[in-house]
């Protein structure tokens, strides 16, 4: 199988978010970047499919120089090849244009299945996998927690995590699958595989190589634009109750009923 995984490099979950000087992005100072949490499930699932059915896993990411490190991590996990998509013109791409850029790279490759994390933990849109499926003319299964693939019949069955239930859907490959927690347990790269990752192919493609015009991508091509970023208003310090446990519990119950009116 030819398996493609789209990943994103994002700030670590412990990042303390501060608004940057331009008032639209976070302050990048001191930010530690990681492979997007949900993308780990995508990479793991891809490698498991390869281990089972044979084939090749190609990891693709759009982003500046630093995303190479994220791609190398995926190679260390067991992916075979990596492609970095970058061009200054890609800066500030919205989810639609991001998907457009990814789709152009994918169209240059053979593929049977495409994995994405269900959302990136920075912009949290959950939209890129859907746009990508649309642009490639493929069916999709989002929020997948369990996946069965039959490469001969070219079929998949996906268990989707929806509100309070699991939805089981069936479709034909190729398809775009967005991955959710529980799908698998991503492996840690082994130390020998980290050493091997350096020798694997990591290709770079820019706008021209993807046949994209700078007007189609980045802020220019975007359909949604961030105007400003702000921090949520700090919560004012609440009432702290101390003392006899029975007394404080009674007081809390009273406050929740009479003051907050939530009980």
């Amino acid at each position: 199988m030819n398996i493609i995984v789209c990943i994103k490099q994002v700030p670590d979950t412990t990042t303390k978010v501060r608004v940057g000087k331009d008032g639209k992005h976070i302050d990048p100072g001191g930010v530690k970047f990681i492979v997007n949490t949900y993308d780990d499930f995508a990479v793991e699932e891809a490698i498991r499919l390869k281990e089972r059915f044979g084939g090749e896993v190609t990891v693709i990411s759009m982003g500046p120089e630093r995303v190479k490190e994220a791609l190398r991590m995926c190679l260390a996990m067991g992916a075979d090849k990596a492609i970095q998509l970058w061009d200054p013109a890609f800066e500030d791409s919205d989810p639609y244009t991001t998907a457009l850029i990814l789709s152009k790279a994918i169209q240059q490759l053979p593929y049977d299945i495409i994995f994405c994390g269900k959302q990136a933990i920075d912009r949290d849109t959950m939209s890129v996998p859907v746009y990508l499926a649309e642009l490639l003319g493929l069916p999709q299964a989002t929020l997948v927690v369990k996946l069965e693939v039959d490469p001969n019949a070219r079929k998949f069955i996906a268990y989707r995590d929806i509100e309070g239930a699991k939805e089981v859907i069936e479709g034909l490959l190729p398809a775009v699958i967005s991955t959710q927690w529980k799908l698998n347990e991503p492996r840690y790269p082994t130390l020998p595989n980290i050493m091997k990752a350096k020798k694997k192919e990591l290709k770079e493609l820019n706008a021209a190589a993807l046949g994209l015009d700078s007007a189609q991508v980045g802020e220019k091509g975007s359909r949604v634009k961030v105007l400003s970023m702000e921090l949520p208003p700090p919560r004012s310090k609440g009432k702290i109750l101390k003392g006899d446990p029975r007394e404080v519990c009674r007081e809390l119950v009273r406050l929740l009923r009479e003051e907050a009116k939530v009980i």
Partner: protein, 381 residues
Amino acid sequence: MTFQLTEEQRMIQMTVREFARKEIEPIAGKWDRESLFPEETISKMAEMGLLGMMVPSEYGGAGLDTVSYSLAMQEIAYACASTSVIMGVNNLVCEPLLKFGTEAQKQKYLVPLAQGKFIGSFALTEPGAGSDAANQKTSALLKDNFYILNGTKMFITSGSHAKVFITTAVTDKAARHHGISAFIVEKGMPGFSIGKIEDKMGLRASDTTELIFENCRVPSENLLGKEGEGFKIMMAALDGGRIGIASQSVGIAQACLDAATRYAKKREAFGQPIAEFQGIRWMIADMATEIEAARLLTLQAALLKDRGLPFTKEASMAKLFASEMVNRVAYKALQIHGGYGYLKDFPVERYYRDARVTTIYEGTSEIQRNVIAKLVLSTED
């Protein structure tokens, strides 16, 4: 000179950090409280290649350098010092097998040890011979293709969980330390038993035991190196081991610093976070500075070893400084926590106990000073 890690070394550091913070840190407190050996975690670490990091891949290891090993030890120790000592000792056991073992010994013991199929340990110290290792009493007598071992070893890390022990015993009493030999002893050999399991102040998830040899029959092919080379073999392994303990100390110290800064930023007194008080800020500045100094000394010793240069003095310096440093840092971290630091609810209490042993094992601070002084004074004018 700046110390710049290679891309691979950085990836190793990041991977082990993520593993340690996700898989070890959340449960390390429980292991400590209940003295649980982290069996499952050790096998995960084996899969990653952390148990035979510097063993070449043809012998089942990860084929990495000492700098990477130090970085990994720091990360594991940050989360759980007990786990790091199990890891450190296993890595340490691999080295003499690689250097002095016969091909058959390598296949039989080194490969599974490096792969973490079972774990190993050293049996050097005796009730009456710690720093004065040459004064050991355990004897080995060759008889019909077997060495018959008699004696007691003490303070043996992973004693009840390891399968293989590199054990020293006296084969020629008159030759003093040139009469000590090293043996590969397997648990289950006739006459081998595990004695008392020690109740320690710290490192409580790693077991430390006595080993008892009562006419223990060790096949003669399990002699490691030649007769009389035991002391040399052990001392060579210990040099590398000191880099491991220095790394462990740096890891624990970093955990202390992070816990202390987290606490100082949120704890308020006299109307402001205590991190605003100069007394606290200076403590934090000193802690950070000392940790950085120890880290650089440690990585420097590792780098010398990787380049095949003499590193005995530097390894001792790193071990001496880092282990004394972590005790100062743990003291300050606990002090910053105030009364809460004295409670088991906060991990700093565990760090404080775990840190204490670092100036004692793998050569006490006093022994390190002897080593350093000897090498400094022996330099030609």
